[in-house]
């Protein structure tokens, strides 16, 4: 995969995705995905054993929107700010209009009265749909090392 334009578009996708989550523009988050999609957040030990249980799992954009409604309307949690640092985005393979990518991710969380804490570190294994004018995630699988999470993981990563 040596197309520099595509590299730049992929890098831009990850940057905008992270910005959206850092800005807490949670309503915009589902728009980074195709209508039928896979979104899964899973701990590394579960993933290594082939076990699929994780904090979040969705199979379509509607389910992602349901999570947005829960976060905005129904869940009880204290306000927080988040910074996502994405590193080493790489296109692993490209087949027809699907790009397979991976990257490293760190998420820092700051609560009121709290110092900034590392909330989650992990790797992403994604599939990007490049058939339309905008790149969209067809699959996003976040495999996180931070199996023992501090409190709740409220926002998507």
């Amino acid at each position: 995969m040596n197309d520099p334009v595509m590299h730049a578009r992929v890098a831009d996708l990850y940057t905008r995705y992270s910005e959206t989550l850092c800005d807490l523009k949670i309503a915009d988050w589902p728009e980074y995905f195709t209508d039928i999609c896979l979104y899964r957040v899973v701990s590394r030990p579960n993933h290594d054993r082939g076990q699929l249980i994780g904090p979040m799992f969705a199979e379509n954009k509607g389910a992602l929107k349901d999570r947005v409604v829960a976060i905005r309307e129904t869940l009880v949690y204290s306000s927080r700010s988040l910074t996502h640092l994405v590193n080493g985005v790489r296109i692993v393979s490209s087949e027809e209009s699907t790009l397979r990518t991976r990257s490293m991710l760190a998420v820092y969380q700051t609560l009121i009265d709290g110092t900034t804490q590392l909330q989650l570190v992990g790797r992403t294994f994604d599939a990007i749909d490049a058939s339309g004018p905008e790149l969209k995630f067809r699959e996003r699988v976040v495999v996180f090392d931070t199996e023992l999470l501090a409190g709740a993981l409220v926002y998507p990563v």
Binding site: V41, V42, S43, P45, N46, R49, Q51, L52, I53, G54, P55, M56, F57, A58, E59, N60, K61, G62, A63, K65, D66, R67, V69, A70, E73, T74, L75, V76, Y77, S78, E147, L148, L149, A150, G151, A152, L153, V154
Partner: protein, 434 residues
């Protein structure tokens, strides 16, 4: 929570103060819980000894996690690590993960298979039942050193726990005099445990783990408290997954009052009764992906929610088709770990497994329901820690510990029952005080 403990003189000791209240329970019944019970270090150590290492059973795993001879997993009871193994004969054994030689934690692997257990430090080697089989240089080297001639390896095995498998769900206790599980739970609670562990082989779908900054008892209280479920959990209420008036039963173990089941059947879609006092009820919300809440009937009865607390540290839940155990591990008075085991049955179809995975979105660290509890329990921790002389009030549904049998969910009876038993266990020798 605004009453303070009486600041009486503590015998010959120092006078009590707001931050060092006299450690007594204000009433004979458990309709009042003094907040020092959640913060006091000595009380916590007593809990480890009397509750966690006393005559009580703890869930240490599923047989399906260690199906073959030599398989083992690491588990935890209270603050102690244990090794759960299947011996060469296929029996289960649970061993303290601490070498009989000098106390080293022997096993550092979550799951594995081995023929013997060897301490990495001085290679003391045990069989899978914990018997010490050999020690290096027992007779010394070239006639020098070694153990005394009368050193008896039979006296230096790993500490073993009493084990019982209830249809594949493995329980262990440090106290070999603890009653068998059926007697421990009582018939009613045993029946509901074996409704889920009904003899079908289980299959683990994955685990989740969280640290929560609050006292461990708050979690058990939370599950014994159907009052909050109808108020705090807007998601459950708004999407009709739970209402305080839904048809159900509560089963309380009569011997201890400390094991409970709530089992209930979801109200018909569109029914809004019982929502009158719920300020947070949102009838305008609609799910885009109804798969989240589409449960298929899989048991003989029609129960859609079963939630059971087994004293002191286990929660077993069926929420639709999602089956999980939540295991509470204390980490000092101010923090606990919550370990979730999600499972199904070995012969589940792919569709059934998918339903279990979808519905797991309701629980865990990002659960549409569980996030509320995680957060609120941390608020409990924050509110309790600096105020140990305050007293919690538990009068919903009366002042006694008995839970109603008619399925009435508007009660804190199960929490009072928990504390009635807890006080018997904790303070039996010295009256109602440490």
């Amino acid at each position: 929570m605004n009453q303070a403990c009486p600041h009486a003189e503590a015998g010959a000791g120092a006078a009590a103060s707001e931050l060092r209240p006299i450690k007594i329970w204000p009433r004979k019944d458990s309709s009042r819980v003094p907040l020092w019970v959640y913060t006091d270090r000595d009380n916590y150590l007593r809990e480890l000894e009397a509750v966690f290492y006393g005559p009580h059973w703890h869930m240490v795993g599923l047989e399906s996690e260690i199906p073959n001879a030599g398989d083992f997993k690491r588990s935890v009871i209270g603050e102690r690590s244990v090794i759960v193994t299947r011996t060469q004969e296929g029996e289960l054994s649970v061993l303290l993960n601490s070498c009989a030689h000098r106390g080293v934690e022997i096993c550092q692997t979550t799951f594995g298979t081995q023929k013997e257990i060897m301490c990495p430090y001085h290679q003391w080697t045990y069989d899978l039942k914990g018997n010490l089989m050999g020690v290096p240089f027992k007779r010394g080297v070239k006639g020098k050193g070694g153990f005394p001639a009368d050193f008896d390896t039979a006296q230096h095995g790993l500490r073993t726990l009493k084990v019982e498998s209830v249809n594949g769900c493995i329980f262990a206790t440090f106290d070999h005099d603890a009653p068998p599980m059926r007697e421990y739970l009582g018939d009613g609670n045993y029946e509901y445990l074996t409704r889920i562990f009904n003899g079908r082989k289980t299959k683990v779908l994955g685990y989740q783990r969280q640290r929560i900054k609050g006292n461990w008892k708050l979690y058990m209280e939370n599950i014994k408290d159907p009052y909050h479920a109808s108020l705090l959990h807007v998601f459950l209420i708004s999407f009709g997954l739970y209402r305080i008036d839904q048809k159900g039963v509560t089963v309380t173990d009569e011997r201890t009052l400390s094991h409970n089941v709530f089992a209930s059947i979801r109200n018909a879609a569109g029914e809004v009764s019982g929502t009158e006092d719920m300020k947070s009820y949102r009838k305008d919300l609609k799910l885009n992906d109804m798969n989240l809440v589409s449960a298929a009937k899989e048991y003989e009865d029609d129960v859609t929610i079963q939630i059971q607390t087994i004293f002191p540290d286990l929660v077993l839940q069926q929420q639709g088709n999602s089956l999980q155990m939540r295991y509470v591990i204390p980490r000092g008075p101010d923090e606990f770990e919550l370990q979730w085991t999600y499972f199904g049955y070995e012969d589940d179809s792919a569709d059934t497994t998918l339903r279990r995975l979808r519905q797991a979105n309701l629980t865990g660290p990002s659960g549409f329901v569980s996030v509320d509890d995680t957060e609120v329990l941390e608020y409990s921790g924050s509110g309790i820690r600096p105020n140990p002389s305050h007293i919690a009030v538990l009068e919903l549904g009366g002042r006694e510990g008995t839970a109603p049998v008619d399925g009435n969910m508007v009660t804190e009876g199960p929490i009072r029952g928990f504390y009635d038993y807890y006080r018997r266990v904790m303070y039996s020798q010295g009256g109602d005080t440490l």
